[in-house]
């Protein structure tokens, strides 16, 4: 802008007022902290690394992703590389402690525990993501509606949701199982339904924050109808929260499924399942057969922890 401006005549430089020598130009590596609000347009992508990269920098993400990847491999390829058939019973070898032949020992029916632990990942890793996706879709829709429409709708539906939440999910699952029987689809749906209100609650809160922003009336002034406001204006801003909820709920879905299986309302035997195996085997604890429960327990613990670590790092990245 100063190129076309007439330059003032050069004059003698007056003496500085400060008797100390003028400060040398900055020679540090940093610069100046400019305005937080008035920074020039950042060269796109130069200043802020993309979110993916931020994610990859976090150790919690690495650990979680690593463990999760291991179990995914087990789920997909487990039946191929497990040393024994997880369903094959060798009654003469039952209750053997871990040894070279059976790294995790055998269970009361003589089945190799290592194989059962490896292949047990499959059902869990099929059901829980699907259930969580179901819960996320339903919960987001519900939360959007409740948060945006508000008023009586929100109050009434809120009460219903609260009533649902008051019933322990174990009981809901049980009732479902009794009515329909054990089925993978059934379990998936039931876990999905149980988590829907929780997600709805979080989404609702996020929607209410967005509703108070000025871009909502601005959209109204453009003639946008409610549907567009909800989905094209508010939803994109709520998605980060939804993503975090998804990852968190995924961890708890594993938690829930394992608990259900332990109580007998989840995956039915003889399908290898960690929770079910623990339920079948833990009476052997006083007899000293610790491996039969410890290894499936560790499997559950590591999987859940892995997912939650990922969830935590996603949340940290999106919050910054």
């Amino acid at each position: 802008m100063s190129g076309s401006v007439p330059q003032p005549a050069e004059s003698a430089v007056p003496s500085p007022v400060d008797p100390v020598a003028p400060v040398a130009p900055l020679d540090r590596t940093g610069g100046y902290l400019g305005a937080t609000g008035a920074a020039a347009v950042a060269a796109a992508g130069r200043a802020t690394p993309t979110r993916w990269r931020l994610l990859l920098r976090r150790p919690t993400f690495y650990v979680g992703a690593g463990i999760l990847l291991f179990w995914v491999v087990c789920a997909v390829f487990g039946y191929m590389f497990a040393p024994y058939n997880p369903l094959a019973q060798q009654l003469l070898l039952n209750n053997t402690a871990p040894s070279a032949a059976h790294w995790f020992g055998t269970d009361p029916l003589g089945r190799d525990l290592l194989s059962r632990v490896i292949t047990g990942a499959r059902d869990i890793l099929i059901i829980t993501p699907l259930a969580t996706i179901l819960a996320t879709i339903l919960g987001t829709a519900l939360g959007l509606a409740m948060g945006y429409i508000g008023g009586a709708f929100d109050a009434v539906v809120g009460r219903i949701v609260e009533a649902f939440l008051a019933i322990p999910f174990v009981i809901v699952a049980f009732m479902f199982v009794v009515a329909i029987g054990h089925s993978l689809v059934g379990i998936t749906i039931i876990i999905g339904l149980v988590f829907t209100p929780l997600i709805a609650r979080t989404v609702r809160a996020a929607v209410q924050v967005e509703r108070s922003m000025d871009y909502v009336p601005a959209a109204r002034l453009l003639g946008e109808n409610s549907g567009r406001v909800m989905f094209a204006e508010i939803l994109p801003n709520v998605l980060p929260a939804v993503l975090v909820e998804f990852t968190v709920r995924l961890g708890y879905a594993v938690f829930a499924l394992a608990t259900l299986s332990f109580l007998g309302f989840g995956i039915a035997p003889p399908t290898p399942d960690w929770g079910a195996d623990i339920q079948a085997n833990y009476i052997g604890l006083p007899a000293g057969y610790w491996w039969q429960t410890l290894f499936p327990a560790l499997a559950i613990a590591t999987l859940v922890t892995a997912v939650i670590l990922i969830a935590d790092s996603v949340e940290q990245v999106l919050a910054s």
């Binding site: 590596t29 940093g30 920074a39 347009v41």
Partner: protein
């Protein structure tokens, strides 16, 4: 009482100055890298002196305050230089010495008074805490606290002591905070934007209070603000900060009347002065942007934006030069600073379309507009306002005046009470925006105050500006693209901005996007709701020029809402003054400003600090703005009116809005002719005080 006296006497030789800052650097560590927030800042405050630190966002002024009391965030540190408060060095002190310093020697008051107080503790207790630290017993401390409250002109201190902070109004809370700050007669009082969040009349009271207490307690004051008028009023000397550097220093009056650094010159030119009008005098602006954080700058830090910059400026970092014995400027060419070339030409290219439609009816007409919210809060009561085609109607009022509600009703975002009439081109408007047809939506648009809230941060600029084009103007394809280009150019954005999201833009750019969006479909009326309040002064001027240009170009009509009276006067053709939901005065801009005017208008205008220093004595209003849920009887202003009639008519009867001069209406029992007489001589009978 006010401090625009010029140079103060030099301090007695044996007393240490209240504050001495010498070559201070403050560094923040951001993402593993060091960034300088303040660079080589030096200034001195003598005993009893008031020093102003002026700067826009990013100047580092708040950082300076926090550095002085050693309360920088954990990633910040004073990386160079020395500080001395009353002869003591806070940087090298141990914890208990620092505590002592904070308790006795230096106090701080900052922007939002409500948030500065613990919400779970009674106000009295919080003030008493200060005395307890001094060693008083809790009973004595309570007594002392009550006395301090009296000193800050809270007339029922006993009751206020028992209140919780959320029960106090902004003005009262700030007084309580000031009471806490001055309780132990500190040597230095630091004020960081103490009145920015307050209404004009309340602000004036608080500033007067600070000035009075300063004398009484003999406290030196460091006053930090972006508002030059306030600094001019309150401070003896001033330092101008830009991007972390002190660029000019000297007696306040001298610096503001005769600035000697191109930045100061530019800044002052951004502020509309008395007599300037949008049609004839465009505001100057400061081109360019603040330096990007993390970028090393060699040479003068202002050079990239300076109209006087030469090669030397870009290569050498200027030291301080003496302008005279008491003034300094960090510029090689400070003598030519007043001749800084303008960045924007003074006069406008095309003459303004004079408010046409003289015979045609008003474009927008509002009659008997009332709005009562749930709980009995009456935001608007019987408001009659009309907006002529092509004019800018300025809407002025403090909090509770109803100006935002009026705008919302006009736009259909809030439904008015039964019996209210709101028409456009004579035809009534549907009170619900969702039911308005497209043509109406097209005709009425708004520019919101806060672009962070008004622009959907997940949409690109292109999407944001294109939406009204497709939705309201029905454009698509090539026609849409052409209009988009046209709009971008008229708000001075560029193609490269289109794929960006709001978070990647500065405040000024965001507001331009919002303006482009508002003008997209060719509206007839644009409501500007404090469009520049969230922006820096230098950016503000550019946006105002833009608004004025667009009005000319698109023949738009504005409803301009602002608390900044200088802006309103500059931009508006006519002005409406609202108080507690009622119209107090309507008239042409200059008439309303110059008088004679309504006593409220009079008080409001005299309350706002201005750089134009020739003014009559201030009318001081006391008491708080009454609650809209329980308005006073008769004339709602009577509780604070300094010209209240002794006959009692003001308390009993609400005056009608009467037109004493053509085009000029006033709601007052005192006729205009009498007001003219009264307001000519500045002596005012002492106003009734109101317990508050």
């Amino acid at each position: 009482m006010t401090a625009d006296l010029g140079v103060t006497a030099p301090p007695p030789a044996d007393q240490a100055p209240a504050l001495s800052v010498s070559h201070m650097d403050v560094t923040y560590r951001v993402r593993g890298q060091d960034r300088l927030a303040l660079r080589d800042v030096s200034f001195l405050i003598s005993r009893g002196e008031s020093y102003g630190l002026v700067g826009e966002s990013g100047s580092g002024k708040s950082t300076a305050a926090l550095a002085l009391v050693r309360y920088l965030p954990s990633n910040g540190r004073v990386s160079g230089g020395t500080i001395s408060i009353d002869g003591l060095d806070p940087l090298s002190m141990g914890t208990s010495a620092l505590r002592d310093l904070r308790a006795r020697t230096v106090s701080m008051v900052y922007q939002e008074p409500g948030r500065a107080l613990n919400p779970s503790m009674r106000v009295g207790r919080q003030i008493a805490e200060v005395f307890e630290i001094a060693g008083q017993s809790s009973g004595d401390a309570q007594q002392s606290a009550e006395q301090m409250l009296r000193k800050v002109q809270i007339s029922d201190p006993g009751r206020v002591m028992l209140r919780y902070p959320h029960e106090l109004s902004g003005g009262m809370a700030q007084r309580a905070v000031i009471a806490m700050a001055l309780a132990r007669s500190p040597s230095l009082l630091i004020l960081d934007e103490p009145t920015t969040a307050l209404d004009a009349t309340v602000e004036a009271e608080v500033l007067d209070l600070v000035a009075a207490l300063r004398q009484e307690f003999d406290t030196s004051v460091l006053f930090i603000s972006h508002n030059l008028a306030v600094i001019a009023k309150m401070c003896d000397r001033v330092g101008v900060l830009y991007a972390g550097e002190l660029v000019e220093e000297g007696p306040a009056r001298a610096v503001f009347e005769n600035p000697r650094h191109p930045y100061t010159v530019g800044l002052l030119r951004c502020i509309p002065r008395r007599g300037q009008r949008k049609d004839t005098d465009r505001l100057d602006s400061i081109p360019g942007f603040l330096p990007t954080p993390g970028v090393t700058v060699t040479g003068c830090i202002f050079a990239p934006r300076c109209g006087l910059a030469r090669d030397r400026c870009r290569q050498e970092h200027p030291p301080f030069f003496a302008v005279d014995e008491v003034r300094t400027s960090r510029c090689f060419f400070h003598e030519q600073a007043p001749d800084l070339p303008r960045a924007t030409p003074v006069s406008v290219a095309a003459p303004a379309a004079d408010g046409t439609g003289g015979t045609a009816g008003p474009l927008v007409d509002v009659e008997r507009l009332s709005k009562t919210f749930a709980g009995g809060v009456q935001a608007l009561a019987g408001v009659d306002v009309s907006i002529q085609q092509g004019e800018t109607l300025g809407l002025v009022g403090e909090s509770g005046s109803g100006k935002t509600t009026l705008a919302r009703v006009l736009l259909g975002l809030t439904a008015p009470d039964q019996g209210s009439v709101v028409t456009l081109h004579g035809k009534p408007l549907n009170p619900d925006v969702r039911r308005r047809p497209r043509e109406i939506l097209r005709a009425l648009q708004i520019v919101f105050q806060n672009p962070d809230s008004a622009l959907n941060r997940r949409h690109t600029v292109r999407a944001l500006i294109s939406r009204p084009l497709s939705r309201l103007a029905g454009l698509s394809g090539a026609a849409l693209r052409d209009r988009l280009e046209e709009l971008i150019a008229s708000v001075r954005l560029e193609d490269r901005h289109l794929p960006l999201r709001p978070s990647q833009l500065s405040g000024g750019l965001k507001q331009r996007v919002a303006i482009a969006r508002a003008f997209g479909a060719g509206p007839e009326v644009v409501v500007c709701d404090e469009p520049t309040s969230a922006l820096d002064v230098s950016v503000q001027a550019a946006i105002l020029n833009l608004l004025a240009d667009l009005q000319r170009k698109e023949q738009a009509t504005y409803l301009f809402i602002s608390h900044d009276l200088g802006l309103v006067r500059y931009l508006s053709d006519r002005i409406v003054v609202l108080y507690l939901g009622r119209v107090m005065e309507v008239g042409p801009s200059e008439t309303v400003f110059d008088g004679p005017h309504h006593p409220y208008t009079e008080a409001l205008f005299s309350a706002v600090p201005s750089l134009d220093l020739q003014r009559p004595d201030r009318i001081r209003l006391t008491g708080e703005i009454p609650s809209a849920a329980d308005p006073p009887s008769g004339c709602v202003f009577h509780t604070r009116c300094p010209r209240r009639l002794p006959t009692g008519i003001c308390e009993s009867t609400e005056p009608p809005l009467h037109e004493d001069e053509p085009g000029h209406q006033i709601r007052c029992h005192i006729p205009l002719t009498e007001l003219r007489e009264l307001q000519r001589s500045p002596s005012v009978s002492s106003p009734h005080s109101e317990s508050g």
